[in-house]
């Protein structure tokens, strides 16, 4: 079969990308440019003043607390991504191989939970984890001291909320990836004497990598913007970047500062994704070389 070489000189190809280009231009590039332009303005009497100076950026780079919050956000996002991935791999594998009979039911339940409003779920966790909540009540009933679990309004509670709300993204992408693995390859590995664990590590896991990467990237990007979990479950004492940006825009009515912090968060996210991509590429090349 002859391979068709696509080139940007092809008018039909250019035309077919036009809707996507328009969409991206209108709803991504232009807003991003406007956000960048906004960051060079000032405010007076809580109104935007077109000043064109670097005051806001000087503030951003001279105030350590912005970077403390950005760093905390990055770390929380990384931990959340790792936790979601570690939890999702056995769940996805179990759904497909060990609990395949109930796979559809489990998927349906997960979709139901996934589509339930995040506010409702997060407040549900507050009732569950509270000192006088369901968890502590149950523990007390079986002999534990009162308020044995004191996790609500801590960064750990934020992490529980983040993992709970974002886990389905990794489960579904990894499950999809695993479902496409040729079962004969695993059987061949077992025939060659590999244990079930070894077959999983040497065959299933490497072949599921695209799904694992996709899930990790999705969760990482979404983790950078979490707002509800640190505010409600974390008790607001360890604010993350989204809260900082909200405060700049709303409470302080400082839109240029909010715009600058938004750009900083986007750059941090993009830089982290570039590192992710570079690692993935390096690993793929190493495997190909071996």
């Amino acid at each position: 079969m002859a391979e068709i070489q696509k080139t940007w000189r092809d008018g039909a190809l250019r035309l077919s990308t036009l809707p996507l280009l328009l969409l991206m231009g209108l709803f991504f590039v232009i807003p991003l440019i406007m956000t960048a332009l906004l960051s060079f303005q000032g405010t007076q009497y809580y109104r935007l003043v077109w000043t064109w100076d670097l005051k806001v950026w000087t503030d951003v780079f001279s105030q350590i607390h912005y970077w403390t919050i950005m760093w905390r956000t990055l770390m929380m996002a990384l931990v959340c991504t790792v936790l979601c991935t570690i939890l999702a791999i056995p769940i996805a594998y179990g759904m497909l191989h060990r609990l395949s009979r109930w796979s559809d039911h489990i998927t349906l339940l997960m979709v139901f939970a996934f589509l339930t409003d995040a506010v409702l779920k997060t407040f549900g966790w507050v009732l569950f984890l509270d000192r006088s909540g369901v968890l502590n009540g149950t523990l007390e009933a079986i002999g534990f001291p009162p308020a044995a679990v004191n996790v609500l309004f801590t960064p750990n509670a934020t992490m529980i909320g983040m993992v709970y709300n974002l886990l389905p993204y990794t489960i579904f992408t990894i499950a999809l990836s695993m479902a496409r693995i040729d079962g004969d390859l695993v059987l061949a590995a077992r025939d060659a004497g590999a244990s079930r664990l070894r077959a999983f590590i040497e065959v299933t896991l490497p072949l599921a990598k695209p799904g694992i990467w996709a899930g990790a990237v999705l969760v990482f990007v979404l983790s950078l913007g979490v707002f509800l979990e640190p505010k409600v479950m974390g008790g607001g004492t360890s604010p993350l970047a989204a809260e900082l940006i909200r405060q700049s825009f709303e409470t302080r009515v400082n839109w240029p500062l909010g715009a600058a912090l938004t750009l900083v968060l986007i750059v941090i996210g993009a830089a982290a994704l570039t590192v992710f991509g570079a690692v993935a590429l390096w690993q793929a090349r190493r495997v190909a070389h071996d």
Partner: protein, 377 residues
């Protein structure tokens, strides 16, 4: 009065454009609702309670006007929206009084003639009558007071005594570690802490004073279990005793619980410390946005919101119950309502409080809050 300047037909604002398009479409389809057939359409930005059909519907019918509501969840956000250009779409706003006052210098509000509202002021308690400084800008009135209350510790007397909270000192007592809940409501929690530090936050502050505020917030965060923006989370903790007090909320987070029969929950104002009052009076106000579509009807809405009959409805809503400036309304409240609203305590609270106003250094204080919070854990 129309918002369009110059040649109106060539300079429509977004509202007139959308209204025209919508009306044309609906009329064409024969689906025009009755309210849309009103002579005037107005847009009202407000807090919950003001949107009650009990308040809006009778006004619409009496004035041949259709009102669309835009509910706000935080006053600065509402102001920012107006200042960013949405003032062209709105007619009346009811929000926290400093933000109504700020509409003056921002040039997005209409000034009111006190003489025109003389009868309204006459129905108010003397404390709210003209000339009313908190809503004054440059000698001109920016709005009319609508609801009020005080900011002080909110206490569940089932778990703690009011005596303990005659001062903010327990906020810094290790015995109260992880038992304090601070409400993340903009500058509301900052002001009481500044007052406790011996600083009047409503005057121009120097670096040393700002540093004192930094230190007191740092100490507060050490004892704080949660900083919440959501009222229900704060109220739940207060009811089950996991929070001994709510700081920065006051009557706004008390009255709905008291309405539900939980009279053990009260908001008080601490005693003056070193000659400095420790309480804060918050107030909501109604103002007219610059160039309303119908100036007379916008004024009529303000007049309606401050009338004794409507003031009672405004005081007694599903989510919160609050005091109103109308003295004439007091006679319309039942004894139970007066008890829920802690009306027997209101003037004591007033006497021990500063009026919440535009603080000159508010942005620096919010930045300090943000800095100390980032470093807290």
């Amino acid at each position: 009065m129309t918002k369009s300047k110059g040649i109106p037909m060539f300079s429509p604002n977004r509202r007139t454009f959308l209204q025209g398009m919508g009306a044309a479409g609906l009329a064409g389809a024969g689906l025009m609702p009755r309210s849309a057939q009103a002579a005037t359409s107005m847009k009202f930005m407000c807090w919950e309670g003001y949107d009650s059909p009990d308040i809006i519907k009778p006004f619409e019918e009496a004035n041949d006007v259709s009102i669309s509501i835009d509910l706000i969840t935080d006053s600065p956000g509402g102001f920012a929206k107006l200042a960013a250009g949405a003032w062209r779409d709105f007619d009346v706003v009811a929000t926290d009084s400093p933000w109504v006052q700020r509409m003056g210098p921002a040039g997005i509000g209409e000034f009111l003639d006190d003489a025109e509202f003389a009868d309204v002021y006459e129905s108010f308690y003397p404390q709210f009558r003209a000339p009313f400084a908190p809503l004054d800008f440059d000698g001109k009135t920016t709005g009319l007071p609508t609801r009020w209350g005080w900011v002080g510790p909110t206490v569940n007397t089932k778990y703690d005594t009011l005596e303990n909270w005659r001062s903010y000192a327990p906020c810094f007592d290790p015995a109260y570690k992880d038992k304090i809940c601070v409400l993340d409501w903009g500058d509301w929690p900052i002001m009481p802490m500044a007052l406790y530090a011996g600083i009047d936050p409503y005057k121009e502050l120097d670096d040393a004073e700002l540093n004192e505020i930094r230190l007191v917030l740092r100490a507060l965060f050490k004892n704080t279990r949660a900083i919440v923006g959501d009222l229900s989370v704060a109220q739940k903790g207060l009811m089950d005793g996991s929070f001994r007090t709510l700081i920065g909320g006051g009557t706004y987070c008390t009255s709905a619980l008291r309405k539900d029969g939980q009279k053990e929950i009260m908001s008080i104002v601490p005693e003056p410390k070193d000659g400095l009052k420790q309480g804060i009076i918050w107030m909501e106000a109604g103002g007219i946005v610059k160039d309303p579509v119908d100036d007379a009807k916008a004024k009529a809405l303000l007049r309606d919101l401050t009338s004794p009959e409507v003031a009672v409805k405004l005081a007694w809503t599903e989510a919160t119950c609050n005091l109103v400036p109308s003295q004439k309304a007091e006679a319309l409240f039942t004894d139970e309502q007066k008890d829920v609203l802690q009306m027997d305590y209101m003037w004591e609270a007033w006497d021990k409080s500063h009026f919440h106003n535009v603080a000159p250094n508010i942005d620096q204080m919010l930045e300090i809050w943000s800095q100390e919070l980032a470093a807290a854990r």
